[in-house]
């Protein structure tokens, strides 16, 4: 299993949700060490201490009586929290309709890729969450997953059994190479699946699009040390030092570019500020042609001039005309 990322200090609302979570956890278990709580909630020890001290001080008033949660006085010194009684949050968590929607739609995405056995369980959970949003007809979000690539199952199997895979890969430079990788994670970008792993050809961590693979096979060779050490990073596209900065103007029809390339918004203009000027980092400039031209005018390259030319020439070539002379 890959190393977990250590999260840094939390904001106020995350702290509050953590404290609510801690209360229901402890009312079920009654006692836990601070370290156990930090591990379970996957947050730093200092955040657990803040949460417990909030609980320690909590006094609640609904009538003339004052209620306090009874926690052992020496929890900080002992490193163990015991919840002796609490009359405040009885067991069941409350989550808002929006939180229920976020979870239900996340589950719907999972259902599209899970095994049959898990799918039953996931659909059961979706139904439970649907009960909460009584007014609307079930969950307020539906996700229809696209078709899953045939190589998907092989990659999953390789990740679960920590084995190496081989395949032919057609790169974005339109070159086919034979690859062997130790796959650690399958990541989707909406509908497009990538596998992230340690590539033995390039000797580094790489992302591969499933749709550009052919003849994938799970090998007998187990993962190497690099795959075990892989720090998982959430960003789909990681900018490299030598990436080229391209400034692009996008209207809403091309906002996808912002999310997919983690672009930075520089300014807004136009009706309702709909036009966003953004800076994106591009590793391989020739690929910009298809990336921008696909939007048919909803995305416009501002600079550098070389990037404008690439896009223009891609469109000219598509129309069967000759590239313009560079001035």
């Amino acid at each position: 299993m890959a190393k977990k990322r250590q999260k840094h200090s939390l904001n106020a609302d995350t702290r509050l949700n953590l404290t609510i979570g801690l209360t229901s956890y402890l009312s079920d278990r009654r006692s836990a060490t601070l370290q156990e709580l930090a591990d379970h909630f996957d947050v730093p020890l200092s955040e657990i201490e803040l949460g417990i001290s909030a609980m320690f001080c909590a006094t609640v008033a609904d009538s003339e009586e004052q209620w306090a949660m009874a926690i052992n006085d020496n929890w900080r010194e002992d490193g163990v929290v015991e919840l002796q009684s609490q009359m405040i949050l009885e067991g069941q968590p409350r989550i808002s309709a929006r939180q229920a929607t976020a979870l239900a739609s996340g589950l719907a995405v999972l259902a599209g890729v899970a095994s049959d056995e898990d799918r039953g369980e996931i659909e059961g959970l979706i139904a439970v969450l649907g009960q909460g949003t009584v007014k609307a007809a079930g969950s307020s979000v539906t996700i229809l997953p696209g078709t899953i690539d045939a190589d998907f199952a092989k990659m999953r199997q390789a990740i679960a059994s920590q084995k190496r895979v081989s395949f032919e890969y057609f790169s974005n430079k339109d070159v086919t190479t034979q690859r062997e990788i130790d796959p650690v994670q399958l990541i989707s970008n909406d509908n497009e699946w990538h596998v992230r792993g340690f590539c033995h050809l390039r000797n580094e961590i790489r992302d591969f699009k499933l749709e550009r693979m052919r003849k994938a096979e799970v090998l007998e060779t187990p993962w190497g040390a690099q795959a075990h050490e892989l720090e998982l990073n959430e960003e789909l596209y990681e900018a490299a030092e030598d990436d080229i900065k391209v400034v692009v103007e996008v209207t809403p029809e091309a906002y996808d570019l912002i999310g997919n390339y983690n672009a930075e918004i520089l300014s807004s203009s136009g009706l309702n500020d709909e036009i966003k000027r953004v800076e994106m980092k591009i590793g391989y400039l020739p690929s910009l042609g298809k990336l921008i031209a696909r939007y048919g005018g909803a995305a416009k390259v501002i600079s550098p001039p070389a990037a404008r030319e690439i896009v223009r020439d891609y469109a000219l070539k598509a129309l069967g005309r000759k590239p313009l002379e560079t001035t």
């Binding site: 702290r15 008033a61 609904d62 968590p93 976020a102 979870l103 696209g146 990336l291």
Partner: protein
Amino acid sequence: MAEKVTPGTRLFNLACALLYTSRGLSADEIFSRVAGYSESHVPFGDKRALNKLFERDRRELNEAGIIVETLNPSNDKQTFFYRVSKQEFLWPNGLHLTPRQIALLNLAATVWAGASLSRDAASAALRIRGLGEIDDLSELAGLAPRIRTHHPSFTTFSAAIEDGSQVSFEYRKPGESKPETRNFRPWHLQNVWGQWLVLGFDLVRKEPRSFLLRRVIGEVKVNKADPKFCSKDELKAAQTSLQDFIDSNEVTLRVKPDTSAWFRFEMDDKPKATPDEVTFNFMDVHLLADDLRQYAGEIEVLRPKLLRDLIEAGFEKVVEIHHG
């Protein structure tokens, strides 16, 4: 209670107090009894500072997914009571989640990483973890499906659906330069192959409609409350008509071997009678044209002609705006 009450503790105390009151608490009751407020409370004293503090805390709770509602039972517009909205989702009583279910919910929360509902999902996950032990999902390990929605309208539509509100927004039809105002009662958000649509009732045309989020221009305005929630049948009918529309749209392409398009359309697996042709359904011809412009020189559109024309018109536009 010798320790000074920190803002985090005050917020938590307030949340607990408002969660577990059934009739609601008046501002005076909150100020006199909830630790964090009570220290600065003077009976019959000036309450302006406390009121301001309370308003700020309410906003903060709101952001954390705890919606505080205001009740005025005597209708006198003077005595207000506050409590956590009963519309809040309460976990069904007696339902016990297994460690495996908790783990699945946790994984579901990560699907929104960085996108529109990520804050709601992350805060829900923290509360869910409180339910007990968490399983190690070894066979789901390494799966990281992600929704990358960055449409600014998503959260407004989602809130309007849950609260039951009418909205208006500017919508630009493809090929037109000026958007049109739409008055709409949103019912449901639907993602079809990665594209987000909002389904609902067009209040001017008086019929169910669906709109693509990517064509919504600028902010969505939330108008008056509309308690008419759609029935399961109405929603089903809207979804069926969308599916019928998709089923009626068909495209056929000829694909050049050893190109990225050949991989994308999985041409290796196609029947041998027409080894380089592929036919499939699509939702929107303009979106498909956008998609296919990535494969210039690699594909030929055999039908429909409209698609071919749109792809070409888009390229003309690209050339025009990248001149000089």
